[in-house]
């Protein structure tokens, strides 16, 4: 094996992990006092948990060579409904199941329905529903935050278990389930097939539309879970929460090795991608870089990682 091609296969497998370790070392050297502390690293993981949850959903949309731009709006919408149910003294499990997961599922299915019914690219459909779902959130909330979530909710979903933050546990469990789903279920493999070659998938007996719906449904559920976690962390449902989060979600998925052209990627890569973004945000904060610059870094990172993917996969 030539050194170039062995580097290529190494990079495809572990590239994201190398980037993560490099960033941790770099920021650790620049700011040893604050960054590499147990408290701060826990904070990084906690902050990353929401990104990871929506990025897992985004992964499925990108896997089928689509995209979901509505995830930030879905997160705000589900957060709002969950909060309203909690404030109305519904049981916590019911609020999460209906307001978070259920509403997320419905919004995701609606995206899938529109994509299938119109035949338009998901970019257009979810650009539209991003605005529609945000508008609905503002109408239903009267553009005001919902406060007064029950303390039991904050201490359970926003709390700690076995000295680990609950959002982190939720993200890891969800990633494990989805990783199992992608690698072991027929539907999971069919999604890879559709991303790899949509018309071959149809000729091989895969019901493409049904699977497109599944991918967007999972994206909706994931954003719904992110909404559930978000209101627990903020202590309120903000109607303008999650604006621009699709950028983080897309960046995590792509930095995590998901091919923008469909059919390639792994859930655990996406998790590491989400952590990379968490480390960058946290590191820049610790190094006193103003927030505005963080957006520049984030945007550059998306372009660089897609470019690297393009280089690695196209030059044979």
């Amino acid at each position: 094996m030539s050194s170039l091609s062995s580097f290529r296969s190494f990079w495809q497998k572990y590239g994201t992990l190398v980037i993560l370790i490099f960033l941790i070392l770099l920021i650790g050297i620049l700011s040893p006092k604050y960054f590499l502390t147990a408290d701060n690293l826990t904070q990084v993981v906690l902050q990353s948990s929401i990104t990871i949850l929506i990025a897992i959903g985004e992964f499925f949309a990108i896997l089928i060579a689509g995209i979901d731009l509505s995830v930030g709006s879905v997160m705000a919408f589900t957060g709002l409904i969950t909060a309203k149910m909690l404030v109305a003294h519904q049981p916590i499990w019911l609020a999460i199941l209906v307001g978070g997961v259920g509403v997320g599922l419905v919004l995701g299915l609606f995206n899938g329905f529109l994509v299938n019914a119109t035949g338009l690219h998901p970019f257009i459909i979810t650009l539209g529903t991003q605005s529609i779902y945000r508008g609905l959130t503002l109408i239903l909330s009267d553009a005001r935050p919902v406060y007064g979530l029950p303390p039991a909710y904050m201490s359970s979903i926003g709390g700690w278990l076995w000295r680990i933050p609950v959002p982190v546990i939720i993200a890891i469990l969800y990633a494990a389930i989805m990783s199992w789903f992608t690698s072991k279920s027929k539907a999971g493999r069919n999604l890879y097939a559709i991303g790899g070659n949509k018309s071959a998938a149809w000729y091989n007996g895969i019901l493409v539309k049904r699977h497109v719906s599944i991918a967007f449904a999972i994206s909706g559920i994931s954003a719904g879970l992110a909404g559930v976690v978000m209101i627990a962390r903020l202590g309120a449902a903000e109607p303008l929460a999650g604006v621009g989060f699709e950028t983080y979600a897309i960046a995590s998925a792509i930095i995590g090795g998901t091919s923008f052209f469909g059919g390639v990627g792994r859930i655990w890569g996406v998790v590491i991608g989400g952590l990379v973004i968490g480390v960058i945000n946290n590191g820049l904060n610790i190094l006193n870089v103003p927030t505005f610059y963080q957006q520049i870094v984030m945007g550059s990172l998306i372009i660089i990682s897609v470019f690297l993917d393009h280089l690695v996969s196209s030059k044979q």
Binding site: Y192, A193, G196, S199, A200, W202, G205, I206
Partner: protein, 511 residues
């Protein structure tokens, strides 16, 4: 004649594979030099070295009096090499004329600004279009053309470049008889102008008509170079495969029932887009039913309608039961299998291993939970894939290897294996040996015969006459959406079939 291209001691080594091993080759101006070899012999690698896509691992290339260690696409182009690829590389969304002159559009000045000179473009394009025998307006968008017409555009584009060397990779694979004759005329004119042509084809019958010299490659190694006039097709085949293949015989038929039962029948089938009109036929036990038709005659479109890819009207009956599937999923459930013509577009998943490519259809209906909601079973997948790999002699390091790394013939075997594993009752093979080497071809024929002898209904679609005559027990000829003739294998001749398909007497002879 001057030597315009010389390849000396060129090798290309990929991780784990020697694709080319110390190859010598040369091309004179005004000659057609055919390269022959089974899939995986190294032909495509050689083309890619000449087009500048690959750099040789060792050896060098001499163009005119310049010596190169390796080429780049731009050097290759500026040295006058142009390539007509088997997989089309023209752009669907622009017109024929723009495709022909892309990168060298004629310009004029309009209010001081350079703009495209549409008039010159159009007249230049229509000359070349006429030359290649394409019956279309230069303003037509390429997406509206049939595959064979696109192939002609591809050929026409090479003509616009005034190349010194033209490489043609399977240029006739989707051309009709008339179009092929036309192409041969063009090649003759190019030769008169002193252009050197490297011609790659699996259609051996073409070689005596068109070739001057032939070089045979086998497993990446140089075998021999001969004058075409001094060799025969049978000698070429034995050089390629290292064994003799009997081309005149028919594939032996084992099962020959006196009163064969009808396995599968189609009655009054039509498509809404009218590409198939009121077609009826039946498939009987123990026979291979061949469908011959030119590209665009509607034969593949008929098969798509039967399988459920597109909506249809009319009846389909399998073993006495009417079938009502509306999509390929239910078509599969009804035990139909459709091995499509375009491997890369509708056949395999380039992001999948051999194993997943084979298991994906099998597992739709064969895992613990039926339908779409089941789980994959890696152990079973591997077992099924390995069984097929052994049975079909798929050349691979393991079934976990990515299908993209295989040669065309082996990719096709993977696709056949996928459908063999699916337990279907009726198998539709659309151009099962397109672009495949002779050895793999005969293996695939024998697999098809075995399926037939096992009582499955078999339909073969092909535009390769020798193939359809070799393999079919009964032949239906398709033209303009209709079945125009039926022959038993004893009555069928090339002339009769082509007549029914085109209403013209075939003339293969080189003008």
């Amino acid at each position: 004649m001057d030597t315009i291209l010389k390849i000396e001691n060129v090798s290309k080594i990929f991780p784990g594979v020697v694709a080319l091993d110390n190859i010598d080759f040369d091309l004179k101006s005004g000659e057609v030099h055919v390269i022959l070899g089974e899939n995986g012999a190294g032909k495509s690698t050689l083309v890619k070295i000449l087009s500048g896509v690959y750099s040789p691992s060792s050896g060098h290339i001499i163009l005119g009096n310049k010596k190169f260690e390796s080429l780049t696409p731009s050097i290759s182009k500026s040295e006058g090499i142009s390539i007509i690829y088997q997989e089309l590389s023209i752009i669907n969304e622009i017109s024929i004329a723009e495709n022909l002159f892309i990168g060298q559009l004629p310009e004029k000045t309009f209010i001081g600004l350079p703009v495209v000179d549409r008039k010159t473009l159009k007249s230049g394009a229509s000359n070349i279009i006429n030359e290649v025998g394409l019956n279309r307006s230069p303003d037509e968008f390429v997406r509206n053309l049939s595959i064979s017409e696109k192939q002609l555009v591809e050929i026409a584009r090479a003509l616009t470049l005034n190349s010194k060397i033209i490489i043609m990779d399977e240029p006739t694979s989707s051309l009709s008889v008339d179009e092929t004759i036309n192409l041969f005329n063009i090649i003759k004119e190019l030769k008169n102008k002193g252009v050197g042509i490297i011609y790659i084809s699996h259609k051996l019958d073409e070689i005596p008509q068109i070739g001057d010299r032939v070089t045979v490659l086998k497993d990446g190694k140089y075998v021999a170079t001969k004058n075409v006039a001094d060799t025969t097709i049978d000698q070429m085949i034995s050089m390629m495969v290292g064994r003799d293949l009997d081309r005149t015989s028919r594939l032996p038929r084992k099962l020959n029932p006196v009163n064969p039962t009808t396995i599968f029948s189609v009655q009054n089938l039509s498509r809404k887009d009218e590409r198939v009109k009121n077609v009826s036929f039946e498939v009987r036990e123990g026979e291979i039913l061949g469908f011959y038709g030119l590209i665009g005659s509607g034969r593949s479109e008929l098969m798509e309608a039967i399988f459920g890819v597109v909506p249809r009207e009319g009846q389909i009956i399998l073993n006495g039961m009417p079938l009502h599937h509306k999509d390929p999923y239910d078509g599969l459930k009804n035990k139909l299998a459709f091995i499509t013509e375009n491997r890369r577009e509708t056949g395999f998943f380039a992001n999948f291993s051999i194993m997943n490519n084979i298991a994906i259809v099998y597992e739709l209906f064969n895992s613990k939970l039926g339908g779409l909601w089941g789980l994959t079973n890696a152990k079973q997948d591997k077992k099924i894939a390995e069984e097929q790999a052994v049975a079909l002699k798929i050349k691979c390091s393991s079934v976990m290897q990515n299908i993209n790394e295989l040669s065309g013939g082996n990719q096709q075997k993977v696709l056949v294996g996928k459908w063999l594993a699916s337990n279907s009752e009726v198998f539709i093979f659309d151009e099962p040996t397109k672009g495949i080497d002779v050895g793999s071809k005969s293996e695939i024929y024998h697999i098809i015969r075995q399926l037939c002898d096992a009582g499955k209904g078999i339909i073969i679609v092909s535009s390769d006459l020798p193939e359809i005559l070799y393999i079919s027990d009964r032949i239906l000829v398709f033209s303009d959406g209709h079945i125009t003739a039926e022959f038993s294998s004893d009555d069928a001749t090339e002339e009769k079939i082509v007549h029914a398909a085109t209403h013209k007497v075939p003339d293969y002879s080189y003008p």
